[in-house]
Symmetry: C2
Subunit: 220 residues, 2 copies
DNA sequence: CGGTGTATAGATGTATACAAGTACACTTTC
DNA sequence: GAAAGTGTACTTGTATACATCTATACACCG
């Protein structure tokens, strides 16, 4: 939503670096050295620095007080914060989706839900449709700031996704919650939609924390 | 909260540009020309560009699709979005403040409230203490992401503050809401605190929209 | 042997030169 | 006279050279 890529080198570098960070190809805690990274990406330091600065402002990189840029460490406390904010945002967006959804929007939500239901046995498909549903609601809410923050949170959470398992019973639960959420939006039940969205995300938070605290966050 | 300034030119330029944008010294809609601005600020284009990029990522400047950077226009719809997100965030932070406030934190909140009450006849003092109260709650909530987004919203709203009047009855109402909020936090009434915070911000939204739609957003 | 000062290698921050792209005005043509 | 094409001035994007600062290793002193 923020800005579409303008075919400049800095934007390509930004995309590539972001991909590597979210994939954990760039390991949490690792330092970025500009000359080496610039050589690896075949650009000069100027567009690289521009990309790095942008990533810092999204907290996908960290500026050390002494100078020098690192990939942020993974941290359980942060997960909790992220999901809490996400719960507040999703709850708001559910409210606003109730107010702003057109008939076509509702049809879209039902469609995503149906495809999700058909694929509930496949973990990655289910995840894909879950993300699609939340993205659709974010769009339908028509609040660019909520959408923007939601995307930033989603990027952050992405880095932790590698440590979560998608157990079948968890998938069923998510689908059930999604059904409740869509139903509430369809029937314009603002408070119910807000509550379902909030509790759904808090549930995801607790599940994620549970899995991570038992398996740990070690990258290698 | 994100990062403290490191005495580099780019950070100074960032601060100065941000100040000018929030003050409306840089007029909404105006384009920024790098060579001219660099000369005016007595730096080369490199640190200036770094500052500009950062401001773009905070939506305090806008990258035009064709190239060229402008100060974002003022827009009623955006105010509404900002306050809605802010309501969600303040509501969350009120919740978390209930959970995390120490005795010292509560004392601080009461102190701000008392000073606010003593100064309620002065518009600018009241505003100052209002901001301080919300900032204190944001800190007490101990959620860095909520705090970060809250600060971004506050910056955005700042640009619209020049068009609001602080009527005395509005100040009394705000103080009353602040009292209710602090009371709820002190008594750890999570749901009440969340509700009061939410409604308080929504009230501020409606008041702001009312004033602005009657006076308009024209800068000159 | 531990600690401190210093020298040095290498990183980041800044300035500037150059390349590429955009907008606008002017000319030319229908 | 209007519209389209072209040339020019100027802006943005990138590369590179230079200055400044940080960290580390080593020598020297207590």
């Amino acid at each position: 939503m923020a800005e579409q890529p303008r075919n400049t080198g800095a934007h390509l570098v930004y995309g590539e670096l972001k991909r590597q960070i979210l994939n954990l190809e760039l390991k949490p805690g690792a330092r970025i050295y500009e000359p080496a990274m610039a050589a690896a990406l075949q650009v000069s330091r100027t567009p690289l620095r521009e990309a790095i600065r942008r990533l810092i402002s999204e907290s996908l990189l960290e500026q050390q007080p002494t100078g020098g840029v690192t990939v942020p460490a993974l941290d359980e406390k942060v997960i909790s914060e992220l999901y809490d904010v996400r719960a507040a945002l999703e709850s708001l967006m559910a409210r606003e989706a109730c107010a702003n959804a057109t008939a076509a929007d509702l049809e879209e939500l039902r469609g995503i839900l149906a495809r999700n239901a058909a694929m509930v046995e496949f973990a990655d498909e289910t995840m894909k449709y879950g993300v699609a549903l939340h993205a659709a609601i974010a769009r339908i809410a028509r609040n660019s700031w909520a959408q923007r923050f939601h995307e930033q949170i989603a990027s952050q959470v992405e880095r932790y996704r590698h440590f979560t398992n998608n157990a079948p019973e968890r998938r069923d639960e998510a689908l059930a919650n999604h059904r409740l959420l869509v139903e509430a939006i369809v029937s314009k039940d603002v408070d119910e939609a807000a509550k379902v969205a909030f509790d759904h995300v808090i549930g995801a938070r607790d599940e994620t924390l549970r899995v991570i605290s038992s398996t740990g966050l070690v990258v290698e």
